[in-house]
Symmetry: D2
Subunit: 441 residues, 4 copies
């Protein structure tokens, strides 16, 4: 096993169980262990995100990069990209993760012209294909970075200038080609700048329509090239934009429905984007899943005391339980998985911190899976719902469900029936049971 | 003019102009003054809200009612309702306002049975009809209070118990009858409890469907009774619910589209609900107006330093300018107006404070109208947009708009065109111009 | 054992262990079990709060009371107070809790005059003394409700009217008498209306000084009556006030220092007040504890998706662990304990929900204690800190600590020493370890 | 007049009055116009901030720099610094601003060693001194950038490593020397990383003490060099830190009092920092001013719909009025002024946007001054306060103020006096009057 870039991790991270005090071992994630008929690794299609893990610098708005990564020391941009690819596959295989995700510009640099950029991108993704074959690692999804380059300061598919729109189209086309070449299961749209800085100089409706136009072109192109996967939209309310058009799951679904995009798209739900929209993670999961649109997860965690995207590694057990509960409830994520859209803290300078972080995320979701599976099997929540809403399965309740009654009929029923009973929602007891499942699973 | 309940206001509030220091006079609202071809009172269909102004008590979560209103001193609930009606019409006519709005249970009390409640409601609304005829005051919209009664603790049209749903249907039916009887221009759905307290014991999808079913029954019933107005949905993200299903304008529009309700419904946008959803007021107005769904306004103001609905009277000139700008841009609010869903502060104990508050709100919007009209005529913002997006009116931009291009063609264009120019959005200059219009209009 | 008011709970709640599925049993709280040399009940001085548990109605800003408590059905206010007292002691003893807390007006009603109010208060607290003696239940702390009565709409000790200030003084005097009579360990000041609604009509400095004057008078009075306990200030940023003067722990400590109140006061830190101030609970605990001012806890939980005080029962294990960690670190809460300033959800209508809620809170903190004790003993965090800051125990670091160096000397050191090393903070690994302690303790 | 870097502005920006439509002219700021006995430029000591205006790149967390400034094109870092200085003085003099502010590392680069860095800094500040002399422009305050360099990832004066602390000491020493050399009126401490990323690996008390130690050393050093100005602390709650130790004005004042720093320090209050702390700007101004600690202003504006520091130029008239009101009330800012800690939006690419932005800020505060002066002279707010609190100027109220009463005496007074009257706070009327002053001044 390669030891070039991560010599401090001498071999593949192993499962050592809950009693281990080895920080470089899994305590809960046991890839081949069966939970509810499938192995953990079948349930938990974890992906390493290329941008944070290999290209993150630790920069923030008040200071520049602070990490010194050995794979960044080549002579030119292409050399850096090649070395990074080596480092990435060394990391991913040592971690024992099965998937990764990238933006075009993480994996391959912007060059001096569109043609040159595309050529290098093709070269690097050829190398990535070799590495995938050699290691068995797969691409969960690909995407294009349409927000970092200065040309996108006013948006990409929502730019007031068609010339920028055209550049975005070019990037999407090539990123789709790469995703198809590498067998990516999905293709993601995250529109960090597809929104506005200021409403007063923005034609919001034109911009929203143009974005939908781009999505339709992407579908047409990808399907013509044989892409069978899903397109994913990733809601986020704001940052860097003041307002992002796919604010949250409900807004994104409304958008997809408005523009006839429901069949080809699903949602990629991110924990921290949920909390920035003042929703809970489970709320966003439920909205997406109820609409049949929960496609994939960006598993991370925000800090509720601050107002920006912190993209911390997911270690909150409540989040992990709810995520896995909704996934189990809908019988899995067909084309999706759990991408760690997460970065180590700025002062976690060492490469080994990247291992600690991913191990913690994987262990948290493994533990979450075990607990959620038990909650699911024991029908803790579903049984309670069945009882609580039973009135809608017969009588006047059923007529309401079937759209076969009227205000007048219901008024007669209300008069006849008199005052309804006050039926407790039993929230506190459900919370106690959840804690008991967490502590005892 | 009646002087029974508001003896401190001896006659109708007059326009005295900007130099007046009479707190009981308008400085900017001059009903018959023409602005852009219509009188101020035609542009500004102000409505007094019955609940806050006549039935507000000043109670908050940490203390009970603090106002001592003379119209609350009758012997029984029906007497109080009759006296309140007298007080209301005295107030509205002294203020010189043309409209009011009510919930069924503000204007008429809950009695011991549905039948009795309906009977009293019919009596009180008969009296209201007489008062309307006598004074020329009109009903902007009616609605049913489906949140205050204990039976609605778990929601009304989203209640787990069909018996509660039936009670809600009864109230809506009678509130529709009353709205039609009184010539109300619209009928509002605000679902303060149509959401959840806790997701874990909630079947969100069933509840959302049941709510849509209720809306369809309401449309069917009202149209059968000859109602020609609009139904209005009033987005709010939360409070009292942890999550309300019509979170914001985008969510509400998505909901209406999902359930086939777009034709009969429009949105009633409230300033403070916008800010609770972390949007600006103008954002919500733009979202609704862009979709052709801006029906009416709840004109008030929140406090950005707190996290709940403060429903203060609207005095922020920026909000008033943007509101009137969007209204002018769409050529008015056909069935809607500007309802003051606002209450005096808890320590504004005196009845005269109600006059100060409404005068301030009306003056702010009158000033806002004057400024917005000038901005609109001078094409300050629309001219800038026309210039900024001109690339989409010809060439490749037009092909993008018309859906007649492809990723491949756009890539060729990007290659040929080279790096796009960096074109300033000129936000700072637009902000300066806006301030100058505010100070000099 | 009395069965009058809570017949569904036939006997005292027992510890049945983690495997029990009896919702009316403790799974983790085992009063006599020893943890780190003391019993659980010595560590965890849980208190039932009179206001939420016995006098809460379920009212919220959009609807009135929804609970029908049998102890509220007496003929007059004094009878209700007597019955409530019976219910309270039945509940507390069945729960097996050792402490309770009250405001004067929870336990005894406002009557038609100050004298009459005081007389009834004296009578009810005499009865409480008997009940305490009979059951062994103790008073953790007493306080005066200086926010619910209309007279306090503009504040109590910060009211613009000295007449209101005098009423507040009277209530504090009598509440102190009662606290002393009942052996209360502390006396709390929570100033829900000691702040402002609007800054523009407020003399903030005068109000802050007057509040301090009241605190000094209270100390003087209480000490003259032999009170040996602590006065507690309970920081909260806002609600019902727009701004409350003791915004958070740092502000409250600054206030106490400014006005010479540090010796007699400590802080009562509430979870939900911390989150409303955009702090984490552990932050507020650390600020108070570092200053030697952590006196007591109001153990509850907020909802991060809403902007108001939800006062939910504490079930988040991370909060419970950190709370107990800081308590253990400072070797306990001398005069304080863990008051459940928490209420069941509005739709938890049944009296048995009160038991579920308290059991969940007590179990969460018992589990939190077990985990925190292990973290503390194993020096997981303290050991890491010792290592991380070791540079300040010798050499130039020690001179910095001792105030024995200068800018010039430090510059010479910087020049000589050269670039400092980048030392990882290891946050991710610490988070993983914390989770392992939570799952395996 | 130099035209090298800003050729689009051919001469000094002139006052052309409210009717001008020249975007490169002042509409309200008329430097020599007298307001309340002093000229506008005496009241409004505006300062241009070096970092945003000359060294801002437009980078944000999702994209790099986007501005192409001609002064950044020299061959080496020192050359860039020299050209930037030329550009800065060209801009400041064309704008007609009298002051500027800098951090050491804005004006002069980090070199390969401390000695070399200091040498270049000395050279550049010598040049700055010449430019100041030539133009009459003055230094409002200087400061050290203790947050951008990677060595400060864990804080500067709060770093766990004394070696980093020593580097910070060196920078402060040199920045003080420069400030003194350039006649700076104050010296600022903004501690963007003087707080924590994660509490769990932080010794908060040690760090707070070390920071105070640094401040004491800075005072000692500066006073020994003859510095007569103020030290300013600039509160901010968070960002980039998760928590910053000088969270808000109250916390900062508490800190200064705790560590004996009240005499040498005052506060520099920033609008956007106030709103990030969930305070209004006027609240922070009032807290600081009431304590005699309002030293200077960072005039900018945040966006209430997002959770990070947007540092927009100040154009909200309400903020400007309140700021100037508090400044007038305390008879000016002795050592301080109004620094535009503000940056143009990322898509305001052009140098001319920098002029628009500053003109807008200066005009807004000039207009705010005119309005505030009128409010102050007419005693709109002070007269209302005098009336509202009159009860404390005699009788029992005076005894309360003088600390000459007791709980018992006050209780006797309350009994005798009976129920207090409900006196309206008249907030709505005050809001109306404020608007009228804004529109008519």
């Amino acid at each position: 096993m390669a030891k070039k870039y991560f010599p401090e991790v001498k071999s593949k991270i192993k499962y050592e169980g809950p009693q281990s005090d080895n920080p470089l071992a899994f305590k809960y994630y046991n890839a081949k262990k069966k939970v509810g008929g499938k192995t953990m690794e079948q349930h938990l299609k974890f992906a390493v995100s290329y941008w944070h893990t290999f290209k993150g610098t630790g920069a923030d708005p008040f200071g520049g990069g602070v990490y010194d990564r050995p794979w960044d020391h080549a002579d030119d941009a292409v050399g850096v990209a090649e070395q990074t690819l080596d480092a990435a596959f060394e990391f991913i295989t040592k971690l024992g993760c099965k998937y990764y995700c990238f933006h075009d510009r993480d994996i391959s640099p912007e060059m001096s012209s569109v043609k040159e950029t595309n050529k290098v991108f093709s070269h690097i993704t050829d190398l990535a294909k070799e590495r995938q074959k050699a290691t068995g690692v797969k691409l969960l999804w690909g995407t294009a970075n349409l927000f970092s380059h200065p040309r996108y300061a006013n948006g990409a598919a929502t730019n007031p200038d068609p010339a920028v729109y055209a550049h975005a189209a070019s990037q999407i086309k090539n990123a789709l080609d790469a995703t198809i070449k590498l067998g990516g299961e999905s293709y993601v749209f995250w529109g960090g700048r597809e929104g506005y800085i200021a409403l007063q100089n923005t034609d919001m409706q034109l911009e929203r329509e143009n974005l939908a136009g781009m999505m339709h072109m992407a579908i047409k192109y990808a399907r013509s090239k044989g892409f069978k996967g899903k397109f994913l939209i990733e809601p986020k309310p704001k940052e860097p934009s003041t307002h992002q058009y796919d604010f949250d799951a409900a807004t994104a679904i409304g958008y997809l429905r408005e523009f006839g995009l429901m069949d080809d798209f699903a949602l990629n739900i991110e924990t921290n984007h949920a909390t920035l929209a003042t929703h809970s993670f489970e709320h966003e999961l439920a909205v997406a899943s109820d609409a049949g649109m929960l496609g994939s997860l960006d598993a991370n965690r925000g800090d509720q005391t601050v107002g920006w995207d912190t993209d911390q590694f997911p270690t909150n057990i409540y989040d992990a339980v709810w995520a896995m509960y909704y996934v189990l409830k809908q019988k899995g994520l067909k084309h999706g998985g759990l991408n760690f859209d997460a970065k180590v803290r700025r002062n976690s300078f060492d490469s080994v911190d990247l291992f600690y972080a991913h191990i913690g995320g994987m262990d948290s979701f493994a533990k979450g899976l075990i607990i959620a599976d038990k909650l699911h099997k024991d029908k803790v929540f579903s049984g309670n719902l069945k009882e609580r809403y039973k009135g809608y399965r017969s009588g006047v309740g059923k007529k309401i469900r079937d759209g076969k009654t009227t205000l007048a009929e219901l008024e007669r029923y209300a008069i006849k029936k008199g005052a309804p009973a006050a039926i407790s929602g039993r929230q506190e007891n459900l919370e106690n049971i959840l804690n008991q499942y967490i502590f005892e699973s």
